[in-house]
């Protein structure tokens, strides 16, 4: 299943629509890392609301995406993790350490605003 990637202002938003295979995840990773440079975005949001299972590969890929995006000079926020998924993930020891998370898309946008604003002011000094 292809994940649509939308450009919204200075951000890139990827909304996962359903269960993804490992190849889908890798393609998402390639596309996101590519688009972030192409659109000169400051932030990326990956919305996983539709996922009701998150396995170790998905977690690992999300983590890689966040680190790669960081290297490309932007911030990543993962949003919309379901309570059951969060519970299962912590039980399996799958954490998203050092990666910003938010309740839903709206919260994610607010968080990105804060992050990029903070970065913006620090670079102006």
């Amino acid at each position: 299943m292809e994940v649509p990637i939308l450009k919204q202002g200075g951000y890139v938003i990827a909304t996962i629509q359903g269960a993804l295979s490992d190849e889908d995840l890798l393609r998402l990773q390639d596309n996101l890392v590519d688009r972030v440079g192409k659109y000169r975005s400051k932030g990326v949001i990956v919305d996983v609301t539709a996922l009701d299972v998150m396995d170790s590969f998905a977690t690992k890929t999300l983590r890689s995406i966040a680190y790669m995006i960081k290297l490309r000079g932007a911030e990543t926020v993962i949003c919309g993790i379901q309570p059951e998924v969060a519970f299962a993930m912590t039980h399996l020891g799958l954490t998203l350490e050092g990666i910003s998370t938010a309740l839903d898309l709206e919260e994610g946008l607010v968080l990105l605003d804060q992050r990029t604003h903070a970065r913006g002011t620090s670079s102006e000094r």
Binding site: P83, A86, T101, L103
Partner: protein, 302 residues
Amino acid sequence: MAKKDDLQVQKIPSQVVADESWSELLRQLVAHLRQNSAQLRQEWARRITQARLLTAMTQDEIFAEATTIYDNYVDALESGTFEALQAYARQLSERIIPRGVETDEVIGIVLLLRDVLARSLFAKYQHDFPFLNRVLDAYEPAANSIANTVAVSFVKERERTITQQQEAIRELSTPVLQVRERLLILPIIGLLDPQRARQLTEQLLQGIRTNRAKVVVIDITGVAAMDSNVANHLVQTVEASRLLGATVIVTGLSPEIAQTLVTIGVDLTKMNTVGDLQGGIEEAERLLGYKVIPVSEQLRKE
């Protein structure tokens, strides 16, 4: 009437004949038990005391209960239905469980009654062995199912009490409260076992979603002891909450718990801890951008 009987005899003659002698036997049996009830009841009560059963109850109480159980018992034998006895057993269990009567005592007294009655039958029919055998054929299955019914009622009542209490504790144990917009507190009181920790985490995660919480204060002032298991549960709760975008502040670690955690080497560096609930709420307000100032101060500024 006669015609009806004829029809039945034609259909299944042998069984009807057997039934008739069966019910006749039971009738005789019941008559015998009713006639000698006073004496048998006394004998039963004596043997209960002798066997040191129902020690939580006084002699008079035992005798009073024995009388009622005896009557119910004979009624059940006569009618072959156990509803009344079942209801009585349930009632009795309700009364005696809080007084510390054990399952083996209840089963013990019912079995004693069965023995007392069987002995009286032996004594009565000892001269006619084949007839005694037939009487016992009628008596034993009925007596066994009665013993069964009473024991099962008792155990069921007991289980019901236990489940009720468990549910009460479970419901009491984990309130998730909203104190400000986007700020939840979760006071934990008592023991944290794996099952409770799991339930608590689930409730908290649902609470975070429904209240759209940004900050959660978990107060563990009421947790008396903590080991590495409990600490790990707490860490997991914190991580799961973070995945939903909420920050967790843990408050109220007692000096003992702080010492234990450091001694056993649990890594709590990922956790945000504040001394007490007040401090935790203040910190949470700071994170959310609230500032509480007294009205007088505000007036002075204006």
